[in-house]
């Protein structure tokens, strides 16, 4: 690890903190203007239906209505999607979920637009709507996408296959087999800022500017240019700071931008389309619900020898983050790849089925399917420990992947990329006092303790990996860094500025990071997959290295020194060991510009080329992993079923914490979201209609539902990461839910395999087991 870091590794204040804390930071909705048209969508009345006729004539005649559009009025392709363009801008002949727009309206006020929607008459022929992929994949199920390239497989979109070793032999020879069926719910991201796009036609260029809260400005441009029938270079996409995304605003931003964009082109006016909270619940993407049959074989000494796992994923109505061509199906692929979790297992078979239904489309959500897969594995190993009467942490220690081991998909683990799991386990074990039994009281409350671990590969290889940026040194020795990544609260502005300042010898305050605008920066890749610190960070370092090399080469002559003996620090340049030689960096930059030294650079970085064979799911898709261990203590009120999380101790190996406070923020936020997933969050669907589309019946944890969230940072550096870092955005959500489930078993002696563990389900189990 580098010694003597000045800025990296310090919890410097967030670049945007003051503006946010004072309420002055401008989000997309703060860019609304009085002269804009307001867009509204007429959503599908029936989640699965044929559209027999649409009559928009009365709506068109309403005063103040600028445009009414149906599928026949679109300027370009009526289909888009991150991987496959199968989601229509406006439903054409068929609806597949309650978030399909059937018609669009733009009007001078929201009130008029709403009134216009009421005047549109639609006739439907209602079809069976599917909530459960296990129903939708039956042979006699109604086809949701009759004309889809995947329609020959019925409602099954894709199957990811993974095969390694001789699984049958391993199960035949196993001393012990653990077999269970697990269920995890569909959940909403619950970002604070509802989706919004302001679309401005650009009369100067004939193009379109989409101002839209999102996670991937270049993906939006690529996916929507054909919808607008515009060449890519005339579609400018920018995103002000974003009020949370969690993976959702990779897709939902396309939904709102497509609508605002086609209406702006039609009316030749600026159009704003903003979802209400209810619309966010009903229409935007969700976490895939999963149904996992998990078999695990082991020896009586506690060595796991094989896993055999079948996962059914609820794909919802559209492909979203997934592809036809396996394994370019990020979430489905990961449910297979992580089927053995963090463990070295010689033989494995995994099949993951992604199935269309009539629920909202399932998309990226913090962890890309890894939380679901790890939930099952971490419950399985806990049961193995019980059956073998072994300490669950020691059993895990026997099985974790170590230097040189292969994952079940064939990736070789490397100490040089940072393997800090065991240190995380030990730190959590010590901190929570694992070896001391929990104090129990005489009343109805029973206490329990649970443990879970995870690993998570940094980035989204096989999809859109790699990153670019621009960097420009100014005459006053300040630096502009332009990246296309999104600032959504994770702190990308801050950590990029820290790394650039460190690399170039500038002060932190002297670096300004501009973000998420295709008009200002090259593609940094989407802000997803816990990838920005590593991928974009490396690109920023590449640009800074180029600038520094050019400056030092230029300075060699006036300093009469070898460039390798020169250093820049705090706005000065000097010969190392001779502070008296120091000169102002600004003066040197001015001279460099005058001498035709270019001080603008494009930084680029790509990880090692990934591989993953579709036939057997073998390859080397990842370059580095973050790890973590989580111990949770709970109380269960056995008379009411209410679970209280009393303590949460969480350690993560992040390689290098560029900004420790930001890392702790990710860990605390992930733990909170993971606890919510474990005990209360659930999107309830009935025949394609969401039953709890508001925050008064869709529960997320408040601060009173959370204990003090204890975070421990562990640093095992990644040789390929900037300053040794690995991605830590998503993974903290992963282990809380299985740790809670394992704690409930510890407290009650009852095994529960379906989350969320609500009071109702817990009390029903207590009564069933006669433990009340």
């Amino acid at each position: 690890m580098k010694k003597g870091l000045r800025i990296v590794g310090r919890s410097v204040a967030r670049a945007e903190a003051l503006a946010k804390a004072t309420g002055r930071a401008r989000y997309t909705s703060d860019f609304k203007r009085g002269d804009m048209l307001v867009a509204k969508a007429l959503w599908a009345k029936y989640p699965h239906a044929l559209i027999k006729s649409i009559d928009t004539s009365a709506a068109e005649q309403l005063a103040g209505v600028a445009a009414v559009m149906t599928a026949k009025d679109l300027p370009g392709r009526n289909g888009y999607g991150i991987m496959v363009p199968d989601k229509p801008v406006i439903a054409d002949g068929k609806t597949r979920y309650e978030g399909d727009p059937v018609a669009l309206v733009a009007a001078v006020t929201e009130e008029i637009a709403t009134k216009a929607l009421e005047l549109i008459k639609v006739e439907y022929e209602v079809l069976t709507a599917y909530d459960d992929p296990r129903e939708a994949m039956k042979d006699d199920a109604v086809l949701i996408h009759p004309n889809h390239p995947a329609a020959d497989k019925g409602n099954l979109l894709t199957v990811v296959k993974l095969d390694r070793g001789d699984v049958e032999k391993a199960f035949r020879e196993a001393d012990i087999v653990i077999e269970n069926y697990y269920e995890t719910p569909m959940v909403e991201h619950c970002y604070l800022e509802p989706d919004i796009c302001i679309a401005e036609p650009d009369d100067l260029t004939g193009g379109l500017h989409l101002i839209c809260a999102q996670q991937a400005v270049y993906a939006t441009k690529r996916c929507l240019a054909p919808v607008f029938n515009l060449p890519h270079h005339k579609v400018r996409v920018s995103s002000p700071i974003v009020g949370g995304g969690f993976g959702g605003k990779e897709d939902s931003s396309l939904d709102v931008a497509a609508v605002a964009g086609v209406l702006a082109l039609k009316t030749k006016k600026t159009v704003c389309f903003e979802l209400t909270r209810e619309e966010v619940f009903r229409t935007t993407g969700k976490r895939h619900a999963t149904y996992i049959k998990h078999r695990m074989a082991a020896t009586k000494e506690g060595k796991i020898t094989a896993v055999d796992v079948e996962t059914v994923l609820n794909k919802g109505a559209y492909t979203s983050m997934g592809g036809l061509r396996e394994p370019a199906h990020a979430v489905t692929m990961r449910t297979a790849a992580y089927a053995a979790g963090v463990y070295a297992v010689a033989s494995a078979k995994a099949r993951s089925y992604s199935v269309f239904t009539n629920t909202p489309y399932s998309c990226a959500f913090r962890g890309f399917g890894v939380p679901q897969a790890i939930f099952a594995v971490e419950c399985q190993i806990d049961e193995l420990a019980r059956r073998l009467n072994m300490d669950p942490i020691e059993l895990r220690r026997k099985n974790i992947l170590r230097d040189g081991d292969h994952t079940i998909y064939g990736q070789v683990m490397k100490e040089s990329r940072g393997l800090g799991l065991e240190e995380c386990m030990d730190k959590v074990r010590d901190s929570i006092g694992w070896d001391k039994p929990l104090a129990q009281s005489a009343g109805p409350v029973k206490r329990g303790r649970g443990f879970a671990v995870f690993m998570y590969g940094t980035g989204i290889p096989l999809l859109f990996e790699g990153a670019s940026c621009f960097a420009v040194l100014n005459n006053d020795a300040t630096l502009n860094v332009n990246i296309a990544s999104t600032e959504m609260g994770q702190g990308v502005m801050t950590v990029m500025a820290q790394m650039a300042a460190e690399a170039l010898g500038l002060n932190y305050e002297d670096v300004l990071v501009s973000f998420s605008d295709t008009g200002r920066a090259p593609d940094s890749g989407p802000t997803v997959g816990s990838r920005s610190t590593v991928m974009v960070g490396n690109a920023v370092l590449d640009a800074c290295r180029q600038l520094k090399d050019r400056l030092l080469a230029f300075a060699a002559k006036p300093f009469k020194a070898d460039p390798r003996d020169l250093a820049i620090e705090g706005g000065k340049i000097f010969v190392v060991g001779k502070p008296e030689t120091a000169e102002s960096l600004a003066a040197l930059i001015a001279k460099a510009y005058a001498s035709q030294v270019p001080l603008a650079a494009t930084g680029v970085w790509y990880p090692p080329q990934p591989s993953f064979r579709a036939e057997d799911g073998q390859g080397e898709p990842m370059h580095a992993y973050a790890f973590g261990a989580h111990a949770i203590e709970i109380s269960v009120d056995t008379e009411t079923g209410v679970i209280t999380v009393d303590r949460s101790v969480f350690a993560c190996d992040v390689g290098k914490a560029i900004n420790p406070a930001a890392v702790e923020g990710q860990m605390e936020g992930g733990a909170a979201q993971g606890i919510g997933w474990g005990v209360m969050e659930e999107q309830v669907m009935e025949n394609g209609v969401m039953q709890n589309a508001a925050f008064h019946n869709y529960m997320i944890p408040t601060i009173k539902d959370l204990p003090d969230l204890e975070s421990i940072i562990v640093e095992h550096p990644n040789e390929l990461g900037p300053f040794g870092s690995k991605g830590i955005g998503e993974p903290p959500i992963i282990p809380a839910a299985p740790a809670i489930r394992n704690a409930v078993w510890d407290a009650l002696g009852i095994k529960m395999n379906a989350i969320p563990l609500t009071a109702r389900t817990v009390l029903a189990e207590i009564q069933k087991n006669g433990k009340a």
Partner: protein, 286 residues
């Protein structure tokens, strides 16, 4: 589009005159935490809005003639700050459970009664405390017991032209205590799955008088006379044993999704509030 008239009367008399004029075409906005959302979504579309928070005479909390009376526009925050209301532990416990601090700054007990959702925390406590509700209209007043106020889901005895002027809670002596508790899906800012409140008079470890009210177990908050009658004259220990597994016939649960759960916990919850009230008495009360 139709215009909605807005009135902000400064006196009760003005308000009553407006309500008399617009009758069922008027909507009363008090704290507004419920009705404003309905107005915004046009779930209600009145001819006139009568905003009553600007009426100072309805804002007071006072004690007179054996009652603590809470004015119709007093907020939850006013209740929490009032030493007079502090005498009723059940009331304070229920108000602390309502919404969030910002909601308690604007929301009102009278508004809670007017909205009449069956899970409303404060209404359940008021019902157990035997509170009376004073309804005023142009030229007259009438007094209704809280237990008789709610006639159907979100429907009260309040008639067009009427306004909740005040809520009167009978003052009790040192032998009586109250308590409230609720079960919800999370620990704050949530609607009750089941709520329970009691007012208990006990002497020598024996229940002399008890009122039990439940929320979220049917279309309205309800009193539970079946249990109340059964418990009077019994030792507190016997009462606790009796209520724990009770599923009183006053429950009117229909949704199969939560019926079993609510039936399983309602007795537990009654037991807990009964125990809390008794412990307050045994601990010397206030």
């Amino acid at each position: 589009m139709k215009e909605t008239l807005y009135f902000g009367p400064k006196t009760l008399a003005e308000a009553l005159a407006l309500l008399d004029k617009y009758r069922d075409k008027a909507v009363i906005v008090n704290g507004g935490t419920d009705i404003v959302e309905k107005l915004a979504h046009r779930a209600v579309d009145p001819e006139a809005i009568v905003y009553i928070q600007g009426i100072p005479e309805l804002k007071t909390i006072k004690e007179e003639a054996g009652f603590v009376s809470i004015g119709g526009t007093a907020t939850y925050k006013d209740v929490l700050a009032s030493p007079l209301c502090g005498k009723f532990a059940g009331l304070i416990q229920s108000v602390r459970e309502i919404g969030s601090a910002p909601i308690r700054v604007v929301g009102t007990p009278a508004g809670n009664i007017g909205t009449a959702v069956p899970a409303a925390d404060c209404n359940v406590a008021l019902m157990a405390l035997g509170a009376r509700i004073v309804l005023a209209k142009l030229g007259g007043e009438r007094v209704v017991e809280t237990k008789d106020m709610f006639v159907a889901y979100c429907k009260t005895q309040l008639e067009p032209g009427e306004l909740i002027k005040e809520i009167r809670i009978p003052v009790t002596d040192a032998g009586t205590a109250s308590a409230f508790a609720k079960l919800a899906k999370r620990k704050a800012q949530d609607i009750a799955q089941v709520s329970a409140s009691v007012r208990l008079t006990a002497e020598g470890g024996v229940c002399k008088d008890i009122a039990i009210a439940l929320g979220a177990v049917g279309p309205t908050a309800v009193r539970v006379p079946s249990l109340e009658k059964a418990l009077v004259g019994k030792s507190i220990d016997a009462c606790l044993a009796e209520v724990k597994k009770a599923v009183p016939p006053e429950l009117r649960l229909r949704n199969p999704r939560n019926k079993q759960y609510k039936e399983a916990v309602v007795g537990v919850l009654i037991g807990r509030v009964l125990k809390a009230a008794y412990e307050e008495l045994a601990g010397g009360g206030k």
